[in-house]
């Protein structure tokens, strides 16, 4: 015995007879026995085909309206579709009834009414295997077991068909659509329609079809009505239309003939000439086609749209030209300021200077005018600095610029409008701490220097520890007391103030209004009215007043007018200490008039020994820079830089001023120098040497009767006498010290003591520095030459006598190769220039 109730005996041990006893069917396809079965098939019955498919009149045996529900399954009609079904069983899935999921609602109750569950199975389910259906539709006399199985299946099928999973969404949708379309028919209409169709079309309708129809929905009108009271309502939109009703009627007929070999287009067996059914089918087909077309069109639209979107998506995140321009304009609108020249100062001035340079070099400069300008005026007084203007693509650029200017202007104006109208006061701080200024235009300074550390000119030191606080006040009261010299920090502070003052002056000068016309004719040529000229003149006057005011401020800040003895060094001289001071000297001088420049130069001459470059001038040395330590080297280089800067920015300008004055003034200057200078000290420095040499040169030229723009008339006799006197004093002051002024000599003296013999001189080994030394010697030789040119009589002899040793040594060193040929050449040239003035020659020394 088996626990589960099956035979535990292995198959091979089972009795062979057991198989034969089983009452289950034994299939032996492919064997001889099966061949016999094939022979048993009923091949007859084809004679009724004409009745089914042809247009022969058919007997009334299928007029189901007269039959009781149970009788509808006439054996004659049942047999015929059976054959059809054998060939087209798998078509169930593709019938239109399935496609539309037709009349779900109506078929379900029908099963109860007709008590033919098989019809329900067939009409509502497409998933059923064909064999089963065949069994259901087969003759009503199968084996008992089969029948039982069939009824079981039938009872279970409705439930299965009601499962939503069994159908696709499309099917349900179509079903709902069909239901809605069906509603318009009233029951009466349906009934009458049925009757009419039956009487008129009955002969054409195949019996199987008629049977399906009966099973499908209209076997008993009363029962039907009782079961579905809701169907009895008329659908206002479509109700009453005969055509429609017919169509609706026809549909279930077609849809639900399950054994008919239908394809979705229609049964081929039906002749096209048939009246009611084909029209409704066509209509339906047309509807279907239209639906398909609509769907296709919609699908096509959707696809095109999707393609377009996909195509555009390639450029997602890429800005269009319009976007770029928009952003450019926003950026540009941020750059617009009230004073484009000030905010774009560097680019503006740089391009102006470049323009000047180009003009000076004779190169074609970009055409001036509104387009050549480096500032785009946006609104009055506002603008946008565009920096250096270039000449490429001018026309194109102009157009773009013009357009852009307009747009930027609009943006700026809108922003201003908004600023005015927006109630910012109430909203201030609502979003936290707001920056008042845009960061792009005014970045937050990383380094903030408090201005209290800077001293103004008239500021008096507050600290009581410094006695200068009191003395300066006293000095101001009495005008005689001395003041502490400016500290380095103060000097730097004041220099910065000076720079600001200079910038101010330069800025005002840049805004010079156009010159008014000089006379009537000019005025007419310029197309101006007298009123405009008047305004222009007034503006010009205001402008010159502004310039004058700024220049006066600058003059005050230079402190040239401070008493000469107020401090040592004088404040103005102190300002010339740093290289920065040298630079500003050359800048301020062009803003002052003649008198002020002269005042400045005289002060400079008077206080010349106080100058940093003179006082702390490096003494010449034989030590080569290779032997110097790094700090010493740096200090030496710093001194050289300072001298270079002083020479370029101060001495040269001083010489320029000196050259504008007459002999009397030059004589006065020389006297001033003699009075105030310690000649040996000052002339040991290159700046002093250069200054005296140029004074002498100027005096010599003027004394010889030369005239120039500054001196239209030759000097008077009194002036010449004054000059001669001044020169004699200078010469006699210089004669004893002259030979010791040479840097090479001084270097020698520093190394070996003041009394070292010229013959025992030691030359520096460094070629470069040796040459430099010889060049510096040459400057002293230059002074000697100037003196020799002016000296007369005995003075010339004294001059040569004083310099005799130096001349001889220099000559010999060059001749005997004590130095390199290059240095020898320089030395010979130096001596030759001096001797030449005296009417002698180097060759005479031999």
């Amino acid at each position: 015995m088996s626990f589960f109730g099956f035979d535990p005996v292995l198959p091979e041990r089972r009795a062979p007879a057991q198989a034969a006893d089983e009452d289950i069917a034994v299939y032996t396809w492919g064997t001889e026995e099966y061949g016999d079965l094939g022979g048993q098939l009923v091949e007859g019955g084809d004679e009724a085909n004409d009745e089914t498919f042809g247009d022969l009149t058919i007997g009334g045996d299928f007029q189901f309206a007269n039959h009781a529900p149970g009788q509808t399954l006439a054996s004659t009609t049942v047999n015929k579709p059976k054959k059809k079904k054998a060939t087209g069983g798998d078509l169930f899935a593709s019938t239109e009834a399935d496609f539309f999921g037709f009349s779900k609602k109506s078929t379900k109750p029908k099963t109860n009414i007709s008590q033919k569950p098989s019809s329900v199975v067939i009409s509502s389910s497409s998933t059923k295997p064909p064999t089963q259906q065949q069994g259901l539709w087969s003759t009503p006399a199968p084996s008992a077991a089969f029948q039982a199985a069939a009824s079981q299946v039938a009872s279970s099928q409705p439930a299965a068909s009601a499962l939503p999973a069994a159908r696709t969404l499309a099917e349900i949708e179509q079903e709902l659509l069909a239901n809605r379309a069906r509603q318009p028919m009233t029951l009466e209409e349906i009934e009458s329609e049925m009757r009419r169709n039956l009487t008129v079309d009955a002969p054409q309708v195949p019996s199987g079809v008629a049977q399906g129809q009966v099973q499908d929905g209209f076997p008993q009108p009363q029962g039907y009505q009782a079961q579905f009271p809701a169907v009895g309502r008329t659908f206002p939109a479509l109700g009453g239309q005969a055509q429609n009703a017919q169509g609706m009627f026809g549909q279930p007929m077609q849809m639900q003939q399950p054994m008919y070999p239908l394809d979705s287009r229609g049964p081929p067996g039906l002749a096209p000439g048939t009246t009611a059914n084909p029209t409704s089918r066509e209509r339906m087909n047309a509807e279907l086609e239209q639906k398909i077309r609509e769907t296709e069109v919609a699908e096509g639209k959707r696809r095109r749209k999707a393609e377009k979107i996909a195509g555009m998506a390639r450029y997602n995140g890429i800005m269009t030209q319009g976007d770029k321009e928009f952003i450019t304009r926003i950026q540009l609108s941020q750059l617009v300021t009230d004073d484009p020249y000030a905010s774009d100062f560097y680019a503006q001035v740089y391009s102006a200077l470049a323009h000047q340079r180009r003009t000076a070099a004779g190169q074609p400069a970009p055409a001036p005018g509104p387009t050549g300008a480096t500032v785009l005026p946006v609104t009055s007084g506002r603008g946008l600095g565009v920096g250096v203007s270039r000449s490429t693509g001018r026309k194109l650029r102009d157009n773009a610029m013009q357009r852009m200017t307009m747009q930027v202007k609009r943006i700026v104006e809108n922003a201003q409008q908004r600023q005015k109208s927006a109630p910012t006061a109430t909203l201030q701080g609502a979003l936290g701490k707001n920056k008042l200024r845009p960061t792009a235009t005014a970045p937050r300074p990383a380094l903030q220097v408090t201005s209290s550390s800077r001293n103004t000119v008239n500021q008096v030191p507050k600290t009581g520890e410094q006695p200068s606080a009191i003395t300066s006040v006293l000095g101001a009261a009495t005008g005689t007391t001395q003041r502490q010299p400016l500290t380095r920090k103060q000097v730097l502070g004041r220099l910065e103030e000076l720079f600001e003052a200079v910038l101010e002056v330069e800025q005002i000068r840049r805004t010079q209004p156009p010159l008014p016309p000089q006379n009537e004719e000019q005025m007419q040529r310029m197309g101006m009215t007298p009123v405009e000229v008047e305004q222009l003149i007034k503006r010009g006057q205001e402008w010159s007043q502004a310039v004058q005011g700024a220049v006066d401020t600058l003059w005050r800040k230079l402190m040239v007018q401070e008493p000469l003895e107020i401090s040592n060094p004088h404040p103005f001289i102190a300002l010339l200490g740093p290289i920065k001071g040298h630079r500003i000297f050359s800048r301020v001088i062009r803003h002052f008039d003649h008198a002020r420049n002269l005042t400045m130069v005289i002060l400079l001459l008077a206080c010349f020994p106080q100058l940093d470059v003179v006082r702390n001038a490096p003494s010449p040395t034989l030590t080569t820079s290779a032997l110097l330590s790094a700090p010493e080297l740096a200090a030496r280089q710093q001194k050289e830089r300072e001298f270079e800067s002083f020479s370029n920015n101060v001495i040269n300008i001083m010489i320029g001023v000196i050259n504008q004055h007459d002999l009397k003034m030059i004589a006065g200057m020389v006297n001033l120098c003699l009075e105030r200078w310690d000649m040996k000290t000052v002339l040991s420095t290159r700046p002093g040497l250069a200054l005296i040499t140029s004074l002498l040169a100027r005096g010599t030229i003027l004394q010889q009767g030369a005239t120039d723009a500054a001196n239209p008339t030759p000097p008077s006799a009194a002036d010449i006498q004054q000059w001669d006197q001044a020169f004699m004093t200078l010469l006699h002051t210089l004669l004893p010290i002259l030979s010791s002024l040479f840097p090479s000599t001084r270097a020698q003296a520093t190394a070996f003591g003041p009394n070292a013999s010229f013959e025992a001189q030691m030359e520096t080994r460094d070629e470069y520095e040796g040459i430099k030394m010889d060049v510096l010697d040459g400057e002293v030789w230059g002074l000697c030459t100037m003196l020799a040119a002016q000296a007369t009589g005995d003075d010339t002899t004294f001059l040569v006598l004083n310099l005799r040793d130096k001349i001889r040594y220099t000559f010999n060193s060059a001749k005997h190769g004590w130095v390199s040929p290059q240095r020898g050449e320089i030395r010979l040239k130096n001596v030759d220039a001096f001797l030449g003035v005296l009417g002698m020659n180097v060759s005479m020394l031999n």
Binding site: Q331, F345, Y346, A347, Y350, S351, G385, G387, V388
Partner: protein
């Protein structure tokens, strides 16, 4: 604004931009904006030109001759003055 103004005058000059990631790009300065974003042309890389966001720049090496130091000093003073106001 000062540096923007300076860089405006440096267009068409060959500059070397040192980035904060220690990358150096040498090329012709085509344009610059107020954020000091830089467009370079003729760079020695797999690409011919590039756009550099200003915030990633560490240094820009510019030709000495293309800068007017005195003017730059003045411009700095002016900006400082404006800041004080």
């Amino acid at each position: 604004m000062l540096m923007f103004s300076v860089f405006k005058t440096l267009t068409e000059q060959v500059v070397t931009v040192e980035l904060k990631n220690d990358l150096c790009v040498m090329g012709t300065l085509k344009s610059v904006d107020q954020f000091l974003n830089i467009r370079l042309d003729n760079i020695k890389m797999s690409v011919k030109n590039c756009f550099i966001r200003g915030s990633v720049v560490r240094y820009v090496q510019i030709p000495r001759t293309a800068v007017d130091t005195t003017l730059l000093e003045d411009a700095t003073r002016r900006e400082a003055q404006e800041g004080k106001k």
